[in-house]
C-alpha cells in the first residue's frame, strides 16, 4: 500500500481498501459513504480545547500485520497486560494478530472475535448495531473512523448468559506510520452479564500519529456490562476515543477508564439511559505530564424513568500538562425520578499544570435529583505537614496524598487484576 492517506480520505480509497480486505459489500459501502461525509463534516469541538490546532492528519496507512500463534510472541510491555487472559483478542497496528475464545464460552453462544471477522461471519448481527450508538455522520472524526477503522472487537453475549471471567482485548502498535483504529462493538442481550477489559498502547515512539477508536455498547433489558479500558499511548500519538453505551430497561453499565497516555487526548464517554430503571456508573482516572493537553468528557443522558447515573473523574496533572474535564448530566423531559450525580476533581502538582473542571447539569424534568461537585487544587500543605509530623518524608507524604486522591476511583474497580494493573500503571506514570 503506497497511497498516502489524505484528510479527508477519498471515497474511492476507503472502498478500495475495504474490498482489498475482502469485506462484505454492505461494509464497503458504509465506509465509502462515511469517507464522503468526512469531506463535509467538521471536527468535534470539545469545550475549551482547540483540537483543530493539533496534527490530526497522521492517520497512518493500512498495514496488515502477521498473525501470532501465542502471547509469548508479544513484546514484553504488551504481554504483561494480558497475562492469564482466557478469552483474548489482540490487535497489532491495523489488524488482528491473535484471538482466542475458550470452548466453554463459545458453547454458550458467546461471540468474541475481531470486528472484521465478525462482519464477515455474522453480518446481520453486526450490521444491526454497528454505528448505531455512535453515528458515522456526527462529525468528521466519527465519519473518518467509520471509513477507516480496523481490527477491533465484536463481543456478543446471548440472552440470559452470564460470564464471570473478563474477556480481554489488547490493542498495540509498534509502527507509528501504520493506521491504528480499533472499533469495539459489544452487544449484551436481555439479562446477560459480561465484563470486558482492554488495553491500548504504543511501543517505541516515532512520527506523529493519531489513534482513533470507538466503543459502542448495547445493553438490552436487564443486561449488566462492565467495561474497563486503559489507554497508554505514546507522546507522539493523539488519542481520539469515543465511548457510548445505550441502555434499555434495567440495564446497567459500569465504565472504568484510565487515560494514562503521554500525548494529547480527546476522550468522550457517554451513557444513554434510554430504558426505565437503567443505570450507569463511570469512573475516570487520568494522569497528565509534560506538555500534554487533554479533554476528558463524561456524560449521561437520561430518558428512562428512575434512571440513575454516577460519574467520577480524578485527574492528576504534573509539569505543564493541562486537562479540561467536563461532566454533562442531561435529564430529558419525562425522565421522572431520574438521578444524576457527578464529581470531577483535579490535583495539580506543579505551578504550570492546569486543570479545569466543568460540571454541567441540563435538566428538563422537574421530578428528578441531581448533584455535582468539582474541585481543582494543589496538594494541601497542611496535609503534608501533618503526615511529615509523623516522620514520613515529604516525598512519601505527597505520594500518600496523591494516591489517596485517586483512591475513590481505583478502589471501586470491581476486578482485582484490573485494579492492580491500573495501580501499577498509575505508579509508573506518577513516578516517572
Amino acid at each position: 500500500m503506497s497511497t498516502q492517506l489524505e484528510n479527508p480520505v477519498e471515497r474511492e480509497f476507503a472502498e478500495e481498501l475495504s474490498r482489498s480486505k475482502g469485506e462484505p459489500a454492505w461494509l464497503t459501502s458504509l465506509r465509502g459513504e462515511a469517507a464522503e461525509l468526512a469531506g463535509s463534516l467538521e471536527w468535534p469541538k470539545p469545550e475549551k480545547t482547540r483540537i483543530d490546532r493539533w496534527n490530526l492528519t497522521a492517520f497512518g496507512q493500512y498495514g496488515k500485520p502477521q498473525a501470532l500463534s501465542a502471547e509469548s510472541e508479544l513484546p514484553e510491555a504488551a504481554a504483561s497486560l494480558v497475562a492469564g487472559a482466557g478469552a483474548l483478542v489482540v490487535q497489532r497496528g491495523s489488524g488482528t494478530v491473535l484471538r482466542r475464545l475458550p470452548e466453554e464460552l463459545s458453547a454458550k453462544g458467546i461471540i468474541f472475535t475481531d470486528l472484521e471477522t465478525a462482519a464477515a461471519e455474522h453480518p446481520e448481527l453486526v450490521q444491526k448495531y454497528l454505528f448505531q450508538a455512535v453515528k458515522k455522520d456526527e462529525n468528521k472524526l466519527t465519519a473518518l473512523h467509520a471509513a477507516l477503522w480496523n481490527g477491533g472487537v465484536f463481543l456478543y453475549v446471548p440472552k440470559d448468559v452470564e460470564v464471570d471471567v473478563p474477556l480481554q482485548a489488547l490493542f498495540y502498535n509498534d509502527n507509528a506510520d501504520v493506521s491504528f483504529a480499533p472499533h469495539i462493538l459489544i452487544v449484551a442481550e436481555r439479562h446477560s452479564r459480561v465484563t470486558y477489559v482492554d488495553n491500548a498502547l504504543t511501543i517505541g515512539g516515532g512520527a506523529d500519529a493519531v489513534h482513533h477508536s470507538v466503543i459502542e455498547v448495547f445493553a438490552e433489558a436487564g443486561a449488566k456490562v462492565d467495561v474497563a479500558t486503559i489507554h497508554q499511548l505514546g507522546s507522539n500519538v493523539i488519542d481520539l476515543t469515543t465511548r457510548r453505551a445505550v441502555l434499555e430497561n434495567d440495564a446497567r453499565i459500569q465504565w472504568v477508564i484510565g487515560d494514562l497516555n503521554d500525548g494529547n487526548v480527546v476522550s468522550d464517554t457517554l451513557s444513554i439511559l434510554k430504558g426505565n430503571g437503567s443505570s450507569s456508573d463511570a469512573a475516570v482516572v487520568s494522569i497528565g505530564a509534560g506538555k500534554q493537553k487533554m479533554s476528558l468528557t463524561t456524560g449521561a443522558k437520561h430518558f428512562g424513568l428512575n434512571s440513575d447515573s454516577n460519574m467520577v473523574t480524578r485527574a492528576v496533572m504534573k509539569e505543564e500538562a493541562s486537562a479540561i474535564i467536563n461532566g454533562v448530566t442531561k435529564i430529558e423531559k419525562g425522565a421522572t425520578k431520574a438521578n444524576g450525580v457527578q464529581t470531577e476533581k483535579v490535583l495539580m502538582l506543579s505551578p504550570k499544570a492546569r486543570g479545569d473542571a466543568n460540571p454541567i447539569l441540563l435538566i428538563d424534568e422537574d421530578d428528578v435529583t441531581a448533584g455535582h461537585a468539582a474541585s481543582v487544587g494543589q496538594v494541601n500543605p497542611e496535609q503534608v505537614y501533618y503526615l511529615m509530623s509523623r516522620g514520613v518524608s515529604k516525598e512519601e507524604a505527597q505520594r500518600l496524598i496523591i494516591y489517596g486522591f485517586l483512591a475513590p476511583v481505583v478502589t471501586e474497580i470491581p476486578i482485582d487484576a484490573v485494579r492492580e494493573q491500573l495501580q501499577q500503571l498509575l505508579e509508573r506514570k506518577l513516578e516517572a
Partner: protein, 259 residues
C-alpha cells in the same frame, strides 16, 4: 541515654507577627510538664514552632533534643528524632487509610529492608486501639475523615503509642473531649509514661491534670513562660483564675500578637 529536651530563648512569628518572645524550658525523660495559660498567649504557637509548621518562622533561640538541634531539621526529621505533637486540629486525608498511614510512619523510622511485618503491625495496632476503646473499623477508615472531635484525639494518641516518641507535646488534647473520652486519653498517656520519655501538656483547663499528674506547671503569657511551679500551681489557677498571676507580675494584657 536519658532524654533531655531544652528550649532556650525561642522566638517565633507568624505572618510577620512575633508570638514567641524568648521562651525557655528544660525537660528530662520521665517528667511531665504542663503549660497553662489563657487563650492567645502563644501556647499552640510553641507546639507548632517546635514541630516546624511551615507557617511559623523561628527567628531566634534554640531547641535541642539530646543535643541535636531540632530547628535545623525538617518536620519529618524532627519526628524521627523523637518529637511527637498530638495536634489540636489533625488534618483529614481522604483516600489514605489510617492503617496504611501508620505503617508508613513506623517504617519511616526503620531501615529499608527492615520494615515491620504486616502481621506484627496489625497486632500492635489492634492492641493499642483496644486500649483506647476505638472501634477496630477505624483502622480502615480514611485518616481522620469524618471522625468526630473525640475520635480524632484518640487517633492522635493511637499514633503516639505506636510511634514511641521521646518527647510528646499534647496540644489541647482535652478540647472537645467528654469526660469518658478524656479518661481514656489520659490512661493512654499515663501508660506511656517512661523514664526516657518527656511530656509537655498544653491546656487551659486544670481538668486534664486531674487525670495526668504533672511534675511541673508553667504559666504562659505574652509569648513566654512567666511563672513555674509544681502541681499546686495548676490547682490554684483552677480555683482563682489567672488574674493573681497578672497582678503579681504587673501584666495588664496577657495576650500576644493580637490585632
Amino acid at each position: 541515654m536519658a532524654t533531655q529536651f531544652t528550649i532556650e530563648g525561642l522566638k517565633a512569628e507568624i505572618e510577620g507577627k512575633e508570638i514567641l518572645k524568648g521562651l525557655s524550658l528544660s525537660m528530662k525523660g520521665g517528667e511531665i510538664h504542663a503549660i497553662m495559660g489563657p487563650n492567645g498567649t502563644g501556647k499552640s504557637t510553641l507546639a507548632s514552632a517546635l514541630m516546624g509548621h511551615p507557617k511559623y518562622e523561628v527567628t531566634g533561640g534554640s531547641a535541642e533534643l539530646n543535643g541535636e538541634d531540632l530547628l535545623e531539621m525538617g518536620v519529618d526529621e524532627r519526628a524521627r528524632a523523637g518529637l511527637f505533637l498530638a495536634m489540636q486540629y489533625p488534618s483529614e486525608i481522604s483516600g489514605v487509610t489510617n492503617s496504611d498511614f501508620l505503617r508508613s510512619a513506623i517504617n519511616a523510622r526503620r531501615e529499608e529492608g527492615n520494615e515491620i511485618s504486616l502481621i506484627k503491625f496489625i497486632r500492635q495496632m489492634e492492641g493499642k486501639m483496644k486500649e483506647l476503646e476505638m472501634n477496630p473499623e477505624f483502622a480502615h477508615r480514611y485518616l481522620n475523615e469524618g471522625f468526630s472531635g473525640g475520635e480524632k484525639k484518640r487517633n492522635e494518641i493511637l499514633q503516639m503509642m505506636l510511634l514511641d516518641p521521646k518527647v510528646v507535646i499534647l496540644d489541647e488534647i482535652d478540647s472537645g473531649l467528654d469526660i469518658d473520652a478524656l479518661k481514656i486519653v489520659a490512661q493512654g498517656v499515663n501508660a506511656m509514661r517512661a523514664d526516657d520519655r518527656a511530656f509537655l501538656i498544653i491546656t487551659h483547663y486544670q481538668r486534664l491534670l486531674n487525670y495526668i499528674k504533672p511534675d511541673f506547671v508553667h504559666v504562659m503569657m505574652q509569648g513566654r513562660i512567666v511563672k513555674s511551679g509544681g502541681p499546686e500551681l495548676a490547682e490554684r489557677l483552677e480555683a482563682e483564675g489567672y488574674d493573681w498571676v497578672k497582678n503579681e507580675l504587673g501584666i495588664v494584657d496577657e495576650t500576644v500578637g493580637q490585632a
